[in-house]
């Protein structure tokens, strides 16, 4: 399993599995609620919800599902909502390509990953071929 270096104390808010399209919708709603509870406005709520929706769909479409970790913590003196998506799928061969606008290996639009990066305050991605992909995003309140 891939790991990100952590230098923060975070509260674990929830841990979920994404196995079906239905999971995508329910976990997405959970995250919207957390964003709301933290006091984010409607625009930021919509951004983080859309961002995680992209990551969930990628896990569902390309890795047959995965796991989601939702945390809240102090990052660089920001009150942050942190979502980590982990899968054990095929991994991404060319990260630079995958992160570029309009690249899709399937029938998508190819804006999921680069778009997600633009929607959040912090975006980290790790991928190892035949091992899996982990994406961690953060949104400041």
């Amino acid at each position: 399993m891939l790991e990100f270096p952590y230098n923060t104390d975070c509260d674990l808010l929830g841990k979920f599995k994404i196995d079906t399209e239905y999971d995508i919708v329910t976990v997405r709603q959970v995250i919207r609620q957390y964003a709301k509870d933290m006091g984010m406005g409607i625009v930021d709520q919509t951004r983080i919800t859309t961002a995680v929706s992209e990551l969930f769909r990628n896990m569902y479409n390309y890795a047959g599902g995965g796991e989601v970790l939702i945390e809240r913590g102090e990052v660089e003196s920001h009150n942050a909502l942190i979502v980590t998506c982990m899968d054990q799928g095929p991994g991404i061969e060319n990260l630079e390509l995958a992160m570029s606008d309009g690249f899709t290996s399937g029938q998508g639009m190819g804006y999921g990953l680069p778009g997600t990066k633009r929607l959040v305050d912090r975006f980290e991605i790790q991928s190892v071929l035949n091992e899996g992909t982990t994406v961690r995003i953060m949104k400041w309140k």
Binding site: V25, V43, T46, G108, G115, R118
Partner: protein
């Protein structure tokens, strides 16, 4: 010291026992020995009858249990069918396409758009366009909380397909938050005609429809004039 057994017609009675056991084995559970003779052999005959009774009872119970189970199974299967049917109905219901004006279709989309629902929605809309010959359709997404790349992709495909059938598709109800999010995602929806609210879309569609009517009338007049000449 040996005692003599008191057994009458031993040969026939053993033959009868064999017959009865064969009948039972073949499934005739009513077969019994029921001998009238009272002697040293009667106990065995009675015991065999009792065993057949027990066996019959057990078999009956097992049959009953199996029937109960089968009934329950078919009930569950029926329920499952109902649930599936209801799910399908819900899908249909949640994408009701209606003709609101001479030439205008409205499809209000409510809730989340997974690929299955989007498929149904798109099929309904396209079918209705063909059925009614309407040339303007309004897809109102006020009730859609999240528009990600997949939903946007589906919307684009729906609009393109409608256009191929000769209908213009207007999308209304994109909230300011969703509009900003779409821009950040980087998706270009400029090929789609969008209106802020359903009302705006209706007004636009009616003007559009009226203009098309006028054009038609004009060309009719032109044709009539040609005929006169």
């Amino acid at each position: 010291m040996s005692e003599l057994l008191n057994v009458q017609n031993a040969k026939e009675r053993i033959d009868r026992i064999e017959d009865i056991l064969a009948s039972v084995a073949a499934g005739d559970l009513d077969a019994r020995i029921q001998s009238d003779i009272e002697d040293d052999f009667s106990g065995i005959e009675a015991a065999i009858d009792l065993l057949i009774n027990d066996l019959t009872e057990e078999l009956r119970q097992r049959e009953k249990m199996q029937k109960d189970l089968e009934n329950k199974l078919s009930k569950i299967q029926d329920q499952q069918k109902t649930i599936l049917q209801q799910q399908e109905d819900l899908l249909e219901l949640s994408s009701p396409v209606s003709k609101v004006w001479d030439n205008i279709l409205i499809l209000p989309v409510i809730g989340t758009l997974d690929s299955q629902r989007t498929q149904v929605m798109m099929e309904n809309l396209l079918q209705k366009i063909v059925e009614t010959g309407c040339t303007i359709s309004i897809l109102d997404i006020t009730g859609v909380p999240t528009v990600d790349t997949q939903v946007a992709n589906h919307l684009l495909k729906t609009v393109t397909a409608a256009r191929l059938l000769g209908a213009e598709c207007i999308i209304s109800g994109i909230s300011p938050a969703i509009a900003q999010t779409i821009v950040h995602l980087g998706i270009d929806l400029s090929v789609i005609r969008t209106k802020a609210t359903l009302q705006d879309a209706m007004i636009f569609a009616m003007k559009q429809s009226k203009r098309a009517d006028e054009m038609r009338t004009l060309s009719n007049i032109a044709l009539t004039n040609e005929n006169v000449d």
